[in-house]
Amino acid sequence: MKRNARLRSLWAVRIVFFCVAAWFASSAAGQTLTLSLQQDPGGITLSGSGTESGSVDFGFLSRHAVAPSGATISTSNGSWSLTTQFAVKATLTSGTSGSYRLQAELGSSDAWRTWKINGNSIPSGLAVDVMQNGAYDSVLGQSLMIAIPDGSPSGAIDNTIHLTAIAN
């Protein structure tokens, strides 16, 4: 009985090795990486994501405002923040990369507000990792948070978040 169990165990290990060998032989050349912007079901509606042009405005916001659908406003002593989600998807046609890295950078410096994606502060002039091992072919939600101190100047928040994908 014990011997049979041992034999079965041995066969299981052999199957594992066989599968590893087959997996190894599957490497291919020719690799196209595509990064796309996607709508997150729980996030604000993005323009340029599923539409050819246009944009969706959050409207005018303050710490006492009602957050628009897909966004939340949180307040704390001395500041308030706006949080929403967007999503990205990367595909790779073939090749030896098993995941990708997503970096983010602000287009221009912001003296008042703090920008974060997935909890990582986003500076200007330097791309930082906001996701290190993104899975291909998956729509992956990204959390965007903008913290706004009380007393900051009124007006539009005009900046650009540069997202960069690169294969690992």
């Binding site: 169990a5 079965r8 165990s9 041995l10 299981a12 199957i15 594992v16 090795f17 599968c19 590893v20 997996w23 020719g30 690799q31 196209t32 990486l33 595509t34 990064l35 796309s36 912007l37 323009s47 340029g48 599923g50 050819e52 944009s55 405005d57 959050f58 005018f60 916001l61 303050s62 710490r63 308030w80 706006l82 967007f86 790779l92 090749g95 030896t96 098993g98 287009g107 221009s108 008042w112 791309a127 290190q132 899975a135 903008i146 706004i148 009380d150 100047p153 009124s154 007006g155 539009a156 005009d158 900046n159 650009t160 978040i161 540069h162 997202l163 994908a165 690169i166 294969a167 690992n168």
Partner: protein
């Protein structure tokens, strides 16, 4: 108290940079080919070079604009380093033995209309002494979209160029860590490249029952590790498992090295 009023706008548009050069080769693609979900593509995403010190390589990299907007990119080359087990990107010339500093990109900027592709040629020369084994070729936009009334999201992309010189990789795997997740088992394994060349590890996680029956076999995506780089790989049994004792076998291979680790655990109450 003055409150900050913010008109916040998210767009899928891309930021603009002034570019001196037009795409080198490809003509404007048909407007009907524009992807409705904005995207950018790069080919090849990874260039793998078997190199010798002092040798040069010329490669072409093409980028496609799958957005409804004109895109203007600067091509930026950075060295890929490892510090504390983690991958870092550093500007050309900042690091000793910088390979990025030797790279010549032509043209150094691209303007792509919607649906259009463009390509650049990349000339890479390997320094005689360098510990660097990868560079990144980024296509980055640098300025804000002047037409946006609020935050815009810009899509950028990069290609990874890896080098193998005369050293050797050395795959090391830590112990398999098992955790009970309800009626499932999750596995975590640390992989490190202790060698002086990059490696690509491929492997599987297997869960074997008491009688030797195979319950789960998970193929993990290939993992590229630069010298000194460490990563944690995780997997979970895709379906619920009956209570019992399980043996986890982690098998990873790279070049001619095979690394096998085992661990076992009791799921649920023992009989």
């Amino acid at each position: 108290m003055r409150e900050g009023l913010a008109a916040v706008l998210l767009t899928g548009s891309l930021a603009f940079v002034s570019a001196e050069a037009r795409p080198a080769v490809d003509p404007v693609a048909h407007p009907s080919s524009i992807i409705r979900t904005p995207s950018v593509s790069i080919e090849p995403a990874v260039v793998e070079l078997d190199a010798g010190a002092g040798t040069s390589f010329l490669r072409e990299i093409s980028v496609r604009n799958g957005t409804p907007f004109e895109l203007q990119f600067n091509v930026v080359v950075e060295d890929v380093l490892v510090h504390g087990g983690k991958r870092l990107f550093r500007p050309a010339g900042e690091s000793r033995g910088s390979i990025a500093a030797t790279v010549v990109v032509d043209p150094a900027a691209l303007v792509l209309q919607p649906g259009q592709s463009g390509r650049v040629s990349v000339l890479i020369t390997i320094p005689h002494e360098t510990a660097i084994r990868a560079v990144a070729i980024f296509f980055r936009s640098r300025t804000n979209d002047a037409s946006a009334r609020g935050p815009a999201i810009s899509l950028n992309i990069g290609a990874l160029v890896t080098l193998r010189l005369s050293g050797k990789p050395d795959l090391f795997s830590g112990p398999v860590l098992l955790r009970e997740e309800g009626s499932r088992i999750s596995l975590v394994q640390t992989l490190t490249n202790r060698g002086s060349e990059l490696l690509i590890a491929k492997g599987t996680f297997a869960l074997v029952g008491e009688g030797g029956e195979l319950h789960t076999l998970v193929h993990l995506p290939p993992t590229r590790l630069l010298p000194g780089e460490t990563t944690n790989l995780e997997a979970e049994s895709p379906r619920a498992l009956p209570p019992g004792r399980y043996r986890a076998i982690s098998t990873f291979a790279s070049d001619e090295r095979l690394v096998v680790r085992e661990a076992s655990m009791q799921l649920g109450e023992p009989k």
